[in-house]
Amino acid sequence: MGALLEADAICVTFGGLRAVDGVSFTVNAGEIIGLIGPNGAGKTTIFNALVGLQPLTSGFVRLGGERVSGLKPHRVAQKGMTKTFQNAALFPDMSVVENVTTAALLRHDLHGARTKAEAVLEKLGLNGIAQADVADLTFPQKALVEMARALATEPRVLLLDEVMAALTHSEMDEVMEVIRGLRAEGLSFLVVEHHMRAIMALCDKLLAVNFGRLLAHGTPAEVAANPQVIEAYLGHGAVGKEAAHA
């Protein structure tokens, strides 16, 4: 049995710029993998390339051994991989439950999708705000609703792009608890996060990228001790960033 998700030498080029340059990695079932790197390192582009929002210049993405690169995002979602957006891209004219129902329609009829949406909201402790307008939500709520919407597509691999960006420490702990619970059910995660505390506590393995290249991979402790990773961060103002988060 091979890896659940496999990125094989993926490249994304914008004009002359190599935004993602031959990145390869694997994610196994039930793993939580962190993707770290300074701003502009190519993390979001990697996510977009994995789910089909960004066409690959070269390389392959396989999900459960099946090639998904070249498919449109909705087909990738159908195969079992989706992502959340960095700035919570919810559907603003819909209520919370409608947002989640829309995604649940991927695998259910309308009635079944509503039931599924309610179940997902319940699981994330969001049933209290199910009828709320997304415009009235706080940022952490938006991030959770977006996670709920992604979960409603019933993925095997979920890519989370900075869901904890605006969260307090206790809110972060809650979200991490939710992620661990989902992992216990067999879901795999690829996580982009700037909070090193969350990354170190949550992830089984880390992938460090800079300038679109994979710098290091391994356990959180190994990657944190990697001289190249330290240099990448120090060289790009990461010290100030950490101070801002503290």
């Binding site: 909705h74 891209a89 819909m94 129902t101």
Partner: protein, 327 residues
Amino acid sequence: MRSFLSPGRVALLLFFLAAALLPFFVDPRGHLLRVAAMVLLFAAMAQSWNVVGGLANQISLGHAGFFGLGAYTSTLLFLKLGISPWFGLFAGALVAGSAAALLSIPTFRLKGHYFALATLAFAEVMRVIANSWASLTGGPVGLSIPFMGSQPAYFAFRAVSSYYWIILALLVLVCLVFHLLATGAIGYRLRAVRENENAAEVAGIDTFRVKLTASVISAALTAVCGTVFAQFTFYFDPDSIFALASISVRMAMIAIVGGLGTLAGPILGALFLIPLEEVANALLSSKAAGLSQFAFGVILIAAILIQPRGLMAYWPKKRHPAGSRGA
């Protein structure tokens, strides 16, 4: 569950009931009933447009293309082959639906102004073809439907009220289709596409297919309106049936002034705009050329400025179970 009889729905049912009874209370040969029939027909046209313009927020300025395809298909089938316009109506819907599908391939990536201009060009191309392919379409002279007295099997009636009721039935049908689309699975998907296309794709929605489906349904309904219009007016030519201002823009305008993407919006818009235009014409057309259009334009701009959400902003509101959302 939401109550079936919300205030908005009650108001809509009362409107349909009043509209059905109208021919009993006005002169059956009079101008008023013809105007009322045009109000209902334009409401149906604007509602057809609303499927794409309102639910998907793809503002088309080319729906006259589908309208004219409906009128030409049914009328030519009747004049050349003797096929009843009742069948021609479905043939027109099929032709317009296919045209919409073809048009979707180059235009589906376009948004906003670009989409509007591409659709506008489509209707213009239809107009030019109808004008120049005289052997088939009769060219600039247009097509006349011969008077046949009362022949219901051939969509021909003596009384204006017969056409009026058919048009009312068409409006009810189009509203029903819109309602089923808006509240069904495709309605969720269309709103998602309208609000964030990338997020919709990632959430598993085939955005191309959703937009294509809406376009084809919208075009087919518009073509049916075109057939009914042709039967009702007995005559049309390329410049009037594929008209930018009086068909394409007016369909969009009625839906926008009434309330974009809402069920009752196109009806309110037609009830407001068509009589307003009639009154402006009656009062001002003898004073100076173009004055009535000018007055109409000024009122239109004022209406949009005063209430950008359209007349639906004054409509009885649907309540959500939790009461947290008004619209």
